[in-house]
Symmetry: C2
Subunit: 355 residues, 2 copies
DNA sequence: TTGAAAGCGCTAACAC
DNA sequence: GTGTTAGCGCTTTCAA
C-alpha cells in the first residue's frame, strides 16, 4: 500500500554511479575544484539536478569545510543587533556561505555556551557578541576557527574586532545634555555584570561619570541599573521618578532601555529628557523622536563579515576596527523644564567659573 | 619557540583511552544510554571534564542525531517573529536541543533555500515560516525530518501547523473601524506574492474585501501594496495620502507596515486612523499607542517547539493549532475627523438598510 | 555490563 | 583528467 517509505536522500555515490564517474569527480564538481573536463562537469551537474542531490553538510564538515558562518547574538529583540544581523546577512549573500544564528541566553556563561554550540557544529567562521567571555578562552578558540568579535575593545592577535567608540558616543550625549542646561542627569544602565571595565556599557558608564565629575556635578551623579529589556527599564525608571528629586534628564545605556524609560516618563507626565544609544530604526519615528547615538549596525555587521571572509581566505594578522558614532539630537531631549531651579541645588560647585 | 600549534580538539577516542574504556562506553555515557555501570560512568565523566571534551556534532549527525532544532524565519526585523523566536528559545531550554536560526531572504524561493540549508545540516527538527513553499515539497521533506510550519493554514498529514485566525483578526479590526464611523478604509498590504490565497496576508486581505462589500462600501475599497518594512510602507502611505480623496482609516497588514504608515500620517498632519496586526511590543508604547490584533507570538513559538518535541519523541499524526487573536484598541484609531462628509460620497448604497 | 568493528557521506592525497 | 582509497569522529549493531 505504501509507496516508497521515506525515499532515501541521494548521496554522492548515487550521483557518481548514475553519471558513470567516480565520487571524487562529483566532489570536485561540487566544489568546482581544479581538474574536471567541461564535458564531465556538465554530465555531473545534470545528474545532480536530476537526482535532486544535495551534499550533507555533516559529511563535508568531517573532511573539509561546512560552508557555514555562525553568528552568536545575545538578544535579537534589541533592534541594534537586528541591524547588525541584516548587514551580516547581506554581506554574506553570494559567497557560498550559509549563515546560522545562535541566540545566547542571558547570563555570564550563556554567550560561552552559544559559542561552543557553534564550534561544535564546525562552522567555518564565527562572529560573536560576547563581552563576557574570557579573552584567553577566545584566543584558543580563535586559533582553530576564524573569529571576529563584535563590540569588544580588547585586542587579540588571533581574532579581529569590530566596535564602536563608546566613550566618544557617551561623551557626545552628555555634552548635549549639559549644553541644554541639564544638571541632574541620571544614567540608566544594565547590571554590574554587563558594565565591567572595557565593555561597551562599562565605557559608557565611565564616560558618564567622568563628564559629571568634570562638570562639577559629582553630587548629581545617579546610576540606576536594570535587567535587559524595555519592561525592566520601565520599572526602574518608575522608581527613579518616584524619588524626591527626580532627574531632569536620563541617559540610557541603549535605546531599548531608553524606550522603556520614555514609557515611564510619558506616563508620569513629567517633562524629562531621555537619550539613548544605538539609534535603532524606531528612534527616528516622529512619534518617538528619541535622541540617540547612531551606531551604524548594518555597516558594522557587514564589516565583520568581510573581515571573517578575509580570514577564511587566509589572512592571519588581526584587525581591529572602531566605528565613530554620531549623535542624533531629537525632540526627546530639550532644555530642563524648571530652569530656574537649575543652579539652586549645586552646593559645592562654584556657580559657573567660566563666565 | 611555539608551544603547541593549534592543540587538537579531544576526540571520543582520546577520552576512551584516557579513561581506559572503549569508545562505545564513552558514547553511551554521552547519551546516557542504557547499560553503563555508575562506576564507569563516573570515570568517563571525569575524563571528559578533564580533557575538556565536546563531541563534534557533524560526527554525531552522521550516525544518530544532531541534537539541533532549526528555525527558519523570513524577517527578524519584524518584532512579531522576534516574539516567536523568544517563545521558541525558551521552550527549548533544558531539552538538550540547541536552537539555530536560519534567516531567509526575501523572495519566493528564499524560504525554500533557507529550509534546505537547515535540512542539509541535518537538524533533528524544523520550525519554519514559509508561506510560499509548495505543500508537496514540504510533505516530502517532513517525511524525513519532523517539521512544524508556522502561519500556514493548509493541513498536512506529515507536518504540524501553528497559525493565528487571520480572518477573525482582520474582521475584528474592520468591525472596530466601521463602528467608529469610518467608510473610506484603505488596506495596506504586501505584494501579490505574499497575499496568495490561504496565506496570512491573503486571508486578511480577503476579510477586508468581504467586510467592505458587506458594509456596502465596495466603492471605497482601496488596496495599496508595498514591499517589506517600515520604510516602504511609509513611502506607499505617502502616495496614498497625496491622492485626491485619502482614506480616513488605514488597516495595515501588520504592525511593521502600520508603523511606517503612522510615520507618514503623523508627518502629513492629517487625522487618519491606523490599525495594525500582531501587537508587537511597541504598539502599546504610550507614544505609539497603535490599535492592533494581538497574536501571542511567544506562546505560538513555544507551542511550535512543544509540537516538534512531541514528534521528536515519536508522535506521527499531525496536529493543527489555531490561536485566536484579540483586538487591542488604542489611540491610533478614533472616529473620522470629518464625520459630516461621511455619507455624502456613497452613491449606490442605500443609506443604511437595517435602520 | 563491556568492547570490537562496521559504517554514515563526504574530501583529500595520491595513483593512474 | 580521472579514479582509488584512506580517513574524519561519532553511533550502532552484535559478540563476548
Amino acid at each position: 500500500m505504501a509507496k516508497e517509505s521515506k525515499a532515501r536522500r541521494a548521496t554522492i555515490e548515487d550521483v557518481a554511479e548514475a553519471a558513470g564517474v567516480s565520487r571524487a569527480a562529483v566532489s570536485k564538481v561540487l566544489r568546482n575544484a581544479y581538474g574536471v573536463s567541461p564535458k564531465m562537469k556538465a554530465k555531473v551537474l545534470a545528474t545532480i539536478e536530476q537526482l535532486d542531490y544535495r551534499p550533507l553538510v555533516a559529511a563535508r564538515a568531517m573532511s573539509g569545510a561546512s560552508y557555514t558562518v555562525g553568528i552568536e547574538i545575545p538578544d535579537f529583540r534589541n533592534q541594534f543587533f537586528t541591524k547588525v544581523l541584516s548587514g551580516a546577512k547581506d554581506a554574506l549573500k553570494g559567497t557560498g556561505y550559509q549563515l546560522i544564528i545562535a541566540p545566547a541566553d542571558e547570563g555570564p556563561k550563556e554567550g560561552h555556551r552559544a559559542l561552543e554550540a557553534l564550534l561544535d557544529r564546525q562552522v567555518d567562521g564565527v562572529i560573536a557578541v560576547s563581552p563576557l567571555v574570557g579573552q584567553s578562552w577566545l584566543e584558543r578558540a580563535a586559533e582553530r576557527t576564524p573569529m571576529v568579535m563584535f563590540a569588544r575593545h580588547d585586542r587579540s592577535l588571533h581574532y579581529d574586532t569590530v566596535a564602536g567608540d563608546d566613550v566618544a558616543g557617551a561623551d557626545a550625549v552628555m555634552q548635549h545634555l549639559l549644553e541644554l542646561g541639564h544638571q541632574r542627569i541620571a544614567h540608566l544602565t544594565r547590571d554590574e555584570m554587563v558594565t565591567e571595565p572595557g565593555t561597551p556599557h562599562g565605557l559608557r558608564l565611565g564616560a558618564y561619570l567622568k563628564v559629571m565629575v568634570e562638570a562639577g556635578l559629582a553630587d548629581s551623579i545617579s546610576v540606576t541599573r536594570c535587567g535587559e529589556g524595555q519592561d525592566l527599564a520601565y520599572a526602574a525608571t518608575q522608581s527613579m521618578l518616584a524619588a524626591p528629586e527626580p532627574p531632569t534628564a536620563i541617559f540610557a545605556g541603549h535605546d531599548e532601555l531608553a524606550l522603556g524609560a520614555l514609557r515611564a516618563v510619558v506616563e508620569s507626565g513629567l517633562d524629562i529628557s531621555v537619550a539613548g544609544y544605538d539609534d535603532v530604526p524606531l528612534a527616528s519615528h516622529p512619534l518617538i523622536s528619541l535622541t540617540s547615538v547612531d551606531q551604524p549596525g548594518a555597516a558594522m555587521g557587514a564589516r565583520a563579515v568581510r573581515m571573517l571572509l578575509e580570514r577564511l581566505a587566509g589572512r592571519t594578522d588581526a584587525f581591529h576596527e572602531t566605528f565613530v558614532p554620531m549623535l542624533r539630537t531629537r525632540k526627546s531631549t530639550r532644555p530642563p523644564a524648571n530652569e530656574a531651579l537649575g543652579n539652586e541645588h549645586s552646593p559645592d560647585v562654584a556657580p559657573s567659573l567660566a563666565e
